[in-house]
Subunit: 404 residues, 2 copies
């Protein structure tokens, strides 16, 4: 029998306890041992909940119990999670976490401590909820130069964008509805400003290239400026707008960014709708592979945490090496990265055609019925810097959205 | 340095050598050691090819060389692959294979021999080409009761069905074109009759449930009876027809089958077109996760073989346990499995409506412009046996396709 402890009895924590209770037989068989939840740590009380029998308020009880061999950290936030996890690893306990802030900020250090103690620090649930992506990146996609990783990494923003696309609603209306349904937080900034996706692409990129990507250095744009009018154009073009977290390794440069991107229906991520997440990996010999599933939610996320627990139990005294050094990956300025841009401009197409062509060359113009006093065009593939320079020559640019 | 040997210098074998040459630096870093291809086994000569320097015709040279620690078996077919692989494992060499016939037929025995010698028998490339699916099933989806695995597992048939769907062509015309393009074999039976998909779903199902599924017991229907008329109805219904390999665990029963299935555009596999493959796994807590990518082709398949080699090198003296016992999984007769059926019937809707309703209840009728002297209807969810019994009351059934 292996004793484990669960730190935090919130959404994911209660999910972990529920999954272990529901699927105990299967899980024990896969782990090769009986897994026993010996403690749950939470500051709150849960009167009437069976977890009361094993609830503790003092982390030291868990830390100093040599019987606890694996810890699931599902509290979220950097502190006190970081202090708890670090001390657990130093005591020779393996740790499995769903905490993307913790992993993005302290991943390399915690991996190093785990390795030094011949234990494991696992974080499958920190990106993509229930989708297996950390483990495949670490031990399956190992024969390729990874050209790019493109992810729809945040369910809340994908839900909002999908609703806007399919129902023609504007951002504020959909956000409000998402908040009522519990898909968006009351303070939605972490999601809609792209900060959540930013931490997740930092983790994926660090794993793919083996060096640390500081999420604070990632160019990040959220979806708050995307409007129902943008989707009118997108629909006319047979396209959609998605929030991508993307890492590209091209011509020796590494570009990492989080931005809305307008894609067409041949893009593998085009059909990823609602709260679903997906991660597309392009390798130089593998081509495209995509991983799709529930990117959040109590049970899918808990399933990923428990699969880490199973792996930690299978490898109790065996560190599974993870290539993620503390050395910083040198990111290039995204101003030199190249793409097409969709640009909306105020005024009349006829009147301003020459002016636009003078700046951007022979571009294609788009008008949408019912959208007055403006038009749009699509640029050639140009660098971000080149776009900025050309765009500075035009007055009245309403918005620009990157394309793929 | 680790010495390896490649058995077979055909499409996949030459791909393995090419991938190791192209991405050697990345691969060596991931493996933690320099990987050296010491031998390539093939009965043929390859004058002018650099492989000539390491080509051998006699397997015993490889088998008896203690320096060879990992073998990539990419010859295909059961013999002599089985004899070669078995003897290699018994000599304490790990084996990585792309050979689905070998794995489907002898998987449990070869896994047992590998474990007994503390080596590994790996077969990521045997299903889904470059898509990581074997490893995720074995070590990532371990916290769930797996309700179902649904795969588009054969690129040739998916290419043919996609062409038929998008271009309105009939089966023979598309098959001919696929043969000319090299997407289909001159003798296409293994693909179009479903035998290839059958071996692959047998492997996935065995891994998912830990017991052996004999592929000879899997109900298998190919795509040779699917016509351009079927797609006219499908298009009208906003649906498509795909060849599914499927394993279901429902109400305590295990059903495994390979059949064409008509699906709608909300199905996660709907957008999997052309030669791409995808595998959808449904877990009781995880929900749906999907793995998508190039299901065949020289380099994607070779990438998967090489990722196995990397893993074998990382775990040279450590057997990674795989749950797949020789005990047979008891499959239920698919006659008791339940679904809707799409049925085409000759004659006139009006004239035969009562007759159909008498047999199948109050079903929905479908007519397609330009398709004369026949019509179609969709049944309720009924068992296969129930369908057969009701259908026997009607003359002139042209075809029936299962729905999902």
């Amino acid at each position: 029998m292996i004793n484990i402890a669960v730190l935090g009895y919130g959404t994911v924590g209660s999910g972990v306890v529920e999954v272990i209770r529901t699927n105990g037989q299967i899980i024990d068989k896969n782990a090769g041992q009986n897994i026993n939840v010996k403690y749950v740590l939470d500051l709150r009380e849960f009167p009437g909940d069976p977890v009361m029998d094993i609830l503790v308020h003092d982390y030291d009880v868990i830390l100093n119990d040599p019987e606890v061999e694996v810890i699931a950290e599902v509290m979220g936030g950097v502190e006190p999670a970081y202090t708890f996890v670090k001390s657990a690893l130093e005591k020779g306990k393996s740790v499995c976490t769903s905490n993307k802030e913790l992993v993005a900020k302290h991943g390399p250090e915690l991996l190093r401590i785990a390795a030094a103690h011949n234990r494991n620090f696992m974080f499958e649930a920190s990106v993509g909820g229930g989708i297996p992506i950390i483990r495949p990146l670490n031990n399956a996609i190992t024969a390729d130069k990874i050209n790019s990783i493109t992810g729809i990494l945040n369910g809340t923003t994908n839900y909002i964008l999908t609703k806007m696309c399919k129902e023609g609603l504007d951002f504020d209306a959909v956000l409000k509805e998402a908040q009522e349904l519990g898909y968006a937080e009351r303070n939605p900034s972490a999601d809609v400003d792209g900060f959540d996706a930013c931490r997740k692409i930092a983790i994926l990129c660090s794993l793919a290239y083996g060096k640390n990507v500081n999420y604070e250095n990632i160019y990040t744009e959220g979806i708050t400026k995307i409007t129902d009018i943008d989707f009118k154009y997108a629909n006319k073009l047979g396209r959609s707008v998605k929030l991508f977290g993307k890492a590209e390794h091209t011509e020796g440069q590494f570009y990492v960014f989080v931005t809305p991107v307008m894609i067409d229906d041949t893009h593998p991520l085009f059909s990823v709708n609602g709260v679903f997440n997906a991660i597309l990996v392009n390798g130089n010999v593998l081509g495209d592979v995509m991983f799709y599933g529930s990117g959040a939610g109590k049970l899918p996320t808990a399933s990923a945490v428990v699969s880490d627990i199973v792996d930690a139990v299978r490898n109790l005294n065996h560190n599974i090496p993870v290539e993620w050094s503390a050395e910083e990956l040198e990111l290039s300025d995204i101003r030199s990265s190249k793409k097409r841009f969709f640009v909306r401009l105020s005024g009349d197409t006829q009147a301003r055609a020459e002016e636009v062509k003078a700046a951007f060359g022979d571009v294609e113009f788009i008008s949408v019925e019912g959208v007055e006093n403006e038009f749009a065009f699509i640029t050639d593939i140009i660098s971000e810097a080149d776009y900025e320079e050309k765009a500075s020559k035009l007055n009245g640019i309403i918005t620009r959205i990157r394309m793929e």
